[in-house]
């Protein structure tokens, strides 16, 4: 928020209801220029609703949403010159070919580079001559991706763009996103594929039930979670169980296993090495664990 006008996406306290359903309940999201921002949440958490508010398709009930400092509802036409969007469910006109759709949307955005289009078609192994009605889910998704990636938009808004893609294509997609970042573009990547977010994103916002539960760099988020420690020691240390930040301690003979709040890791290791460590394995939390921790019901966390 240092330069608010330049911030591509800035959302705070956003609310939106559909009838009695509260889809967004005070959501915050800030995407800085030049970063790849992961937007994580289970189905129904409000990812697509947020994106549609940002695109001026839905009108927010409360809170603020800004796109490049502008109002996504009022200034939709001007703002849309600066972004490209891949919907979560790419549906195409059955009578048009994939190539025609790519050109059409590209031209409506303000032009498309034919050589870039050709290159992307080859990378994604997509036949642009087929009528859209014959494309599989994955191929429709590729049409959406080629359209967005072939554009020169400053901001790419990708709503679960890789659903239906096979692992090889997932790899191609990740390369394209990295290239977009090298080119200085900003990417909002909504996803529930954690490995993808882990591989690509500089910062992550995790939402649940229409509200933001975590936001920060991956390192920052990991810091808030626990590291698994498994050690065989010369002797059992006193007071390990009493140390703050140690959970689920299990002791079998000289073997100690526990979960440690990552922020307290140093103190725990000092306590272990004080009695002598024979073997030690520690595993940082994966994003999966991070994610699951946020989505488990309150009581079992």
């Amino acid at each position: 928020m240092n330069t608010p006008v330049m911030t591509p996406i800035s959302v705070s306290g956003l609310t939106k209801s559909f009838g009695r359903t509260r889809a967004l309940d005070g959501l915050d999201l800030t995407v800085r220029a030049g970063e790849v921002h992961g937007f994580l949440g289970p189905n129904g958490a409000g990812k697509s609703t947020t994106i549609r508010v940002l695109l001026g398709m839905l009108r927010a009930d409360g809170g603020t949403a800004e796109l490049f400092g502008g109002d996504p509802w009022r200034d939709a036409t001007d703002l849309h010159r600066r972004l490209a969007y891949v919907p979560g469910d790419v549906t195409l006109w059955p009578e048009l070919t994939g190539g025609e759709v790519i050109d059409l949307i590209g031209r409506m955005r303000g032009g498309i580079d034919p050589s870039r289009k050709a290159e992307l078609l080859e990378l994604f192994e997509l036949d642009p001559r087929k009528k859209s009605r014959t494309y599989s889910k994955g191929n429709r998704q590729k049409v959406g991706l080629v359209t967005a990636l072939a554009s020169d938009a400053e901001l790419l808004i990708l709503d679960e763009p890789t659903s239906g893609l096979d692992p090889l294509m997932e790899e191609v997609f990740q390369d394209c996103v990295r290239r977009a970042r090298r080119d200085g573009r900003t990417v909002l990547l909504s996803s529930h594929i954690l490995s993808e977010v882990e591989a690509l994103c500089d910062r992550v916002t995790i939402i649940r039930g229409g509200r933001t539960v975590e936001s920060g760099t991956l390192d920052e988020l990991r810091h808030l979670t626990r590291t698994s420690v498994d050690a065989v020691l010369d002797a059992l240390p006193d007071g390990l169980a009493a140390l703050p930040g140690v959970h689920d301690l299990r002791v079998e003979g000289n073997r100690v296993r526990c979960e440690v709040d990552t922020a307290r890791l140093g103190e725990v290791l000092a306590c272990l090495s004080a009695v002598g460590v024979r073997t030690l394995t520690s595993r940082p939390p994966t994003l999966d664990e991070l994610f699951l921790r946020h989505y488990q019901p309150e009581a079992t966390r």
């Binding site: 969007y85 919907p87 549906t91 070919t97 050109d103 031209r107 642009p128």
Partner: protein, 531 residues
């Protein structure tokens, strides 16, 4: 597992999904023909009048081409001729039903779900054919029962019912085969309609052109006619139909049992890899999406206009000394000249059909929105209003083009036949074009619903239906003036009549503009209703 495993379940699924649609068309097709009996009796009460009609109007080349010959110059024969187009209608409906339950399901991926749960390869085809053919049979039985119920001879009535069954069965089987051959459901529909069109044209030529009647043996629609209901029934053409159904079904079943899911026998044609330079915005996209349907409607309006033009010369003969008909016509169109009244009345019908087109084109706004096609478009700088205007432009200009085509065709054919082209062209064309404000008003109702109550947009069909009811029964049932005033077509002034005034047209246009503006303002302010 046999190829037919699971057919019973699929039949039940199809009946469940069509629980409204299927009974509606079965009843409609079954009840319409018997209703012609009393209507015909009212107009031509005596045997002599019926004979007179059968010799003159019934033998008019336009009637022969459209409906087929009159085998029996009495009540039964006249009713059978008047129902002549219904075998085309039932053929169309049953073909579309079969494709909807076979290829469309496969295309949508729902078949895959079932295929994985113990459904035989040919079961979907068998179920679709069973459903469509049983429905045709019920319609046919209703026709036979309805005719017998009105005291018509039993054998003739059964043959009459079988006419419908033949049309429905043969084209259900044609569609069953087409659904196996092509990859897309649109292609399957196109192929079936092409076969139906060819069969219809063949029958037309056989009936209307002297010396070509042998050609009829090539058309299943002519086989149906040649059962000769009420005119010394001949049953053996049934064998031809049954043989065709068996052969087509056998071929379709063989392919269904062997081909891959999702594949066809005819290759899917590839399209262009790049869009034509013109395809660059909402308007060119809208034109691309609507143009094929519009061409079809234009062809239909031209054909219908030609028929109306061809019939115009016979109007005087037809009505000639029949006081009942004369009264109906003068009430329908005003009292100034029988021919003017005729043109005003048939152009009103064209106007109603043009309104149906305009609504179907304007409804594309809603279907594009619900199908999420609107999402990628509105994420570009194309604004909402420009996008909406693109579809409405097609609806407005398309309906104008349809009326112009219908009016022109009527005037040309009438002019060529009766050598009055110069005198009648402006009048007939004018009679067609004055319908336009009423057509646009009905389309504007659709726009208003779309903008304000998007989930109820389909209700705009009820405006078309209401106008149709008023037009069909307003004069006959002596509906009260306020009720008739509900239809915009009631307010269309008659060209050429002494009391013609443009005021109602201006009022209709103003109302249409106001409703459309209301709808567009609503659309600009509301959330997109996606899905």
């Amino acid at each position: 597992m046999s190829a037919l495993t699971g057919t019973r379940g699929l039949v039940r699924l199809a009946l469940r999904r069509d629980r409204v649609r299927l009974p509606l068309w079965v009843l409609w097709l079954g009840l319409i023909p018997p209703s012609f009996v009393s209507a015909t009796e009212r107009l031509y009460p005596t045997a002599a009048e019926q004979l007179q009609y059968a010799r003159t109007t019934g033998n008019n080349p336009t009637f022969l081409a459209l409906y087929g010959p009159i085998h029996d110059p009495g009540l039964g024969g006249i009713v059978v001729q008047r129902a002549g187009l219904l075998s085309v209608v039932i053929a169309l409906i049953s073909a579309l039903t079969v494709i909807r339950h076979t290829r469309t399901e496969e295309e949508a991926g729902r078949r895959e779900l079932l295929g994985a749960s113990g459904t035989g390869r040919a079961a979907p085809l068998a179920a679709a054919l069973l459903v469509a053919m049983s429905a045709c049979l019920v319609s046919g039985a209703l026709v036979a029962a309805g005719m017998i119920g009105q005291g018509m001879p039993a054998a003739g009535s059964v043959a009459f019912g079988l006419q419908l069954v033949i049309g429905g069965w043969v084209f259900a089987a044609v569609a069953g085969l087409a659904a196996q051959l092509t990859v897309g459901s649109a292609a399957a529909r196109g192929l079936s309609l092409a076969v139906l069109g060819a069969a219809f044209l063949t029958r037309m030529a056989a009936d209307a052109v002297g010396g070509l009647s042998w050609l009829g043996w090539a058309s299943p629609l002519a086989w149906a006619q040649r059962l000769r209901p009420y005119a010394g029934e001949r049953w053996w053409p049934l064998a031809l139909a049954v043989a065709a159904v068996v052969a087509l079904t056998w071929a379709a079943g063989r392919i269904a049992a062997r081909r891959d899911l999702g594949a066809g026998m005819l290759p899917e044609r590839l399209g262009p890899a790049d869009a034509a330079p013109r395809l660059a915005g909402p308007f060119s996209l809208a034109w691309r999406l609507h143009r094929r349907a519009l061409y079809g409607w234009l062809a239909g309006f031209t054909a219908l206009g030609a028929v109306y033009g061809g019939l115009a010369g016979g109007v005087q003969d037809m009505i000639g000394d029949n006081p009942g008909l004369r009264e109906v016509f003068t009430r329908l169109g005003g009292a100034s000249g029988l021919l003017d009244a005729y043109f005003a009345s048939v152009m009103g019908i064209l106007g109603l059909i043009a309104a149906a087109y305009a609504v179907s084109a304007a409804l594309r706004l809603r279907s594009e929105e619900a199908a999420l096609h609107i999402e990628p478009l509105l994420a570009t700088p194309a604004g909402r209003l420009r996008w909406a205007a693109s579809h409405l432009a097609v609806a407005a200009a398309g309906s104008a083009a349809l009326l112009a085509a219908g009016g022109l065709a009527t005037a040309l054919v009438h002019g060529l036949v009766d050598d009055r082209l110069r005198a009648d062209l402006p009048k007939v064309l004018g009679a067609a074009m004055v319908q336009l404000p009423a057509v646009w008003l009905i389309a504007a109702i659709c726009v208003a619903l779309f903008g304000l109550l998007p989930h109820l947009t389909a209700l705009s069909w009820s405006a078309v239906a209401a106008a149709g009811l008023v037009m069909a029964f307003g004069a006959g049932l002596d509906l009260s003036r306020p009720v008739r005033n509900l239809s915009p077509f009631t307010h269309v002034p008659q060209i050429g009549s002494a009391d013609f005034t443009p005021a109602p047209l201006i009022a209709l246009l103003t109302a249409a503009a106001a409703l459309a503006a209301l709808g567009l303002a609503g659309f600009r302010r509301r959330d997109l209703a996606l899905g």
